[in-house]
C-alpha cells in the first residue's frame, strides 16, 4: 500500500512538473508547480517526515508560490506573451536541455542500480522535536547563516521600498 501511494504521488509530481514546462500561460504553469510541491509534501509524509511535509506546504505552496502568482498577476501578461512562449516551445529549443537532462537521468539510473535491491533506508518516523534539535544542535551554523541572508534581503527590501526624502527627490 505504501509503495503504491508512493509511486502514485511520484507520478503526479512528474506529470505536473512536465505540465509546468509545457504550459504557455504563466499562471497555469505556476498552478502545476503548486501541485508538484503538494505531491512532494505527500511523498515526505509517506517517507515518515511529517514535519518536513507540513513545511513544504506552508512555505513553498502557501507562501513562495503565492508571491509568484501575485507578481505574475501584476505583470498583466496578455495573449502576446502566450505567443512568445509558444515560439519558445519549438522542437529545436528542446534538444539542448533534453540532452543534458538525459545525461543526468542516465547517471541517476546507474547510481540507483548500484544499490543492492531491497536495501531501503529504514522508514522511521522523524518527529518535529528531532528536526528542531538537529537544526539548533549540529546545524546551528547553517541556521545562523541563512538567517543572516534573510536579514540582508529584508534590509535591501526596506532600502528599495522606503519613502523618498526631500533631498533625494531634488
Amino acid at each position: 500500500m505504501e509503495a503504491f501511494t508512493f509511486y502514485l504521488t511520484s507520478g503526479v509530481a512528474i506529470a505536473s512538473v512536465i505540465m509546468v514546462v509545457t504550459r504557455v500561460n504563466a499562471i497555469h504553469a505556476l498552478l502545476y508547480l503548486v501541485v508538484s510541491s503538494l505531491s512532494l509534501a505527500v511523498i515526505f509524509y509517506i517517507l515518515g517526515a511529517p514535519f518536513v511535509a507540513a513545511l513544504e506546504v506552508i512555505v513553498y505552496a502557501g507562501a513562495i508560490m503565492v508571491l509568484f502568482v501575485f507578481v505574475i498577476m501584476m505583470l498583466n501578461l496578455g495573449p502576446r506573451s502566450e505567443e512568445q512562449e509558444r515560439a519558445l516551445l519549438k522542437p529545436s529549443m528542446w534538444v539542448g536541455p533534453s540532452g543534458l537532462a538525459f545525461i543526468l537521468l542516465v547517471i541517476l539510473v546507474y547510481v540507483i542500480t548500484q544499490q543492492p535491491f531491497g536495501a531501503q533506508s529504514p522508514a522511521s518516523l522523524v518527529e518535529s522535536k528531532e528536526v528542531g534539535a538537529a537544526l539548533y544542535g549540529p546545524y546551528l551554523l547553517a541556521v545562523e547563516l541563512s538567517s543572516m541572508l534573510l536579514m540582508a534581503g529584508l534590509i535591501s527590501a526596506y532600502h528599495l521600498g522606503r519613502p523618498l526624502k526631500k533631498k533625494d527627490q531634488e
Binding site: 506552508i58 505552496a61 502557501g62 503565492v66
Partner: protein, 329 residues
C-alpha cells in the same frame, strides 16, 4: 462459536465502518449546514442590532429565507464571462470550499468525535489555510476585471502577512503543551484554559482570524464601497454561492480553532463534551458577526502597518516570554 463470530463482526462493523462514516459525514454536513445557517443568522442578528426586522417572512423567525436563497442561487444562470480564463475561473470557488472543509479533519470535537488525530495538527491547519489564498487570487486574476484584480492583490498581501502572526501566536500554546496535536492541546487545558496564560496570543490569533477569513472589519478584498464585490464580482449562480458559503465555513473553522486552542475545547462542567464544544464555537461565531457589524473598515495601508508594526512585535514578544517561562520551570 457462531455466536461470538457474529458478535465480533457486529462490533467490527460498528467500530471500523459505521462510526467513522458517521463521524466524517456528521462533521461534513454539520459544518456545511451551519455555514449555510449563518447567512440567516448574520442577516437576522445584524438587523436586530440595528433596530430593523431583517428577513422574517418565511418560516418560523424567517429561517425559511435560507431555503429560498439556496433555491434562488441554484436556478440563477451560471455564467462564465467570455473574457475570463475558464480553467482558473472554475477551479477558484472549489478551492475555497475544499480548504475550509479540510481544516476540520484535525479538529477534535469531543473525546470520541474527530476525524483524524495528526501529530502535526496545527501545522496541517496552517498549511491548509495558507492554500486558501489561491481561491481568491485565482478568482481575482481569472475574472479579467480591475476590481476583481485589486481585490485579489489585497487578499494576497493581507493573508500572507497575517498568516505570519497567526502562526507565531500559536507557538506559545504549542510550547506550553509540548505537542502540535490538537487533541493533546485540548487535554492540556483540563485544569486551565490557555486563554489565561496565553491572553496575548489569544488576542493576536483572533485578530489574525478576522484577517484570514477576510471578514469585516478586515474585508478589504471585497470592500463594497470601493471595489463593487471585489474578487467575486464576475461570479454568479452556485459559483458565487460557493464563495458565500465558503466564507462562512472559514468563520466556523476559525471559531472552532479559537475554542480548541484557547477556550478549553470540549472541557466544561455538567454538560456532555460535544455540547460544550458546539456551544462555545457558536458563541465565538456570534462574536465574529457582531464585531464585523460594529467596527469600521480600516484603510488598506493602515491594515498592513498595523500588522507589521504592532502584531508582529507583539507576537514575537509573546513567543519569547512564553519560551523563557517554559525554560525556567
Amino acid at each position: 462459536m457462531m455466536e461470538t463470530g457474529m458478535g465480533d463482526w457486529v462490533t467490527f462493523f460498528y467500530q471500523q465502518m459505521l462510526f467513522p462514516l458517521l463521524n466524517v459525514g456528521g462533521i461534513l454536513f454539520g459544518v456545511l449546514g451551519l455555514a449555510a445557517l449563518l447567512i440567516w443568522v448574520e442577516r437576522r442578528m445584524v438587523a436586530v442590532l440595528q433596530d430593523r426586522l431583517g428577513p422574517n417572512r418565511i418560516g418560523p423567525l424567517g429561517v425559511g429565507q435560507l431555503v429560498a436563497d439556496t433555491i434562488k442561487m441554484f436556478f440563477k444562470e451560471d455564467w462564465v464571462p467570455e473574457f475570463a480564463d475558464k480553467f482558473t475561473f472554475i477551479i477558484a470557488p472549489a478551492i475555497v470550499m475544499a480548504v475550509a472543509l479540510l481544516g476540520f479533519a484535525v479538529v477534535p470535537m469531543s473525546p470520541s468525535i474527530g476525524i483524524v488525530d495528526l501529530n502535526i495538527g496545527i501545522l496541517f491547519i496552517m498549511g491548509v489555510t495558507s492554500l486558501g489564498v489561491y481561491s481568491i487570487l485565482l478568482a481575482g486574476y481569472s475574472s479579467a476585471n480591475k476590481y476583481a484584480l485589486i481585490g485579489g492583490i489585497r487578499t494576497a498581501a493581507q493573508t500572507v502577512s497575517y498568516e505570519v502572526y497567526m502562526g507565531l501566536s500559536l507557538m506559545g500554546v504549542v510550547m506550553l503543551t509540548g505537542s502540535f496535536s490538537l487533541r493533546d492541546i485540548v487535554n492540556a487545558q483540563a485544569d486551565l484554559w490557555f486563554v489565561v496564560p496565553q491572553f496575548l496570543g489569544f488576542i493576536i490569533f483572533t485578530i489574525a482570524g478576522f484577517a484570514e477569513t477576510h471578514r469585516a472589519p478586515f474585508n478589504l478584498p471585497e470592500a463594497e464601497q470601493e471595489l463593487t464585490q471585489g474578487f467575486h464580482t464576475e461570479y454568479s449562480g452556485m459559483k458565487f454561492g460557493m464563495f458565500y458559503i465558503g466564507e462562512y465555513a472559514g468563520v466556523v473553522l476559525a471559531s472552532a480553532l479559537i475554542v480548541t486552542l484557547f477556550l478549553g475545547g470540549w472541557h466544561g462542567p455538567f454538560l456532555p463534551p460535544l455540547v460544550w464544544f458546539l456551544g462555545k464555537t457558536f458563541a465565538v461565531i456570534l462574536f465574529f458577526i457582531l464585531v464585523g457589524s460594529i467596527l469600521p473598515r480600516p484603510r488598506y495601508d493602515q491594515l498592513m502597518a498595523f500588522g507589521w508594526k504592532v502584531m508582529l512585535p507583539l507576537s514575537l514578544l509573546n513567543m519569547i516570554v512564553t519560551a523563557g517561562i517554559v525554560l525556567m520551570e
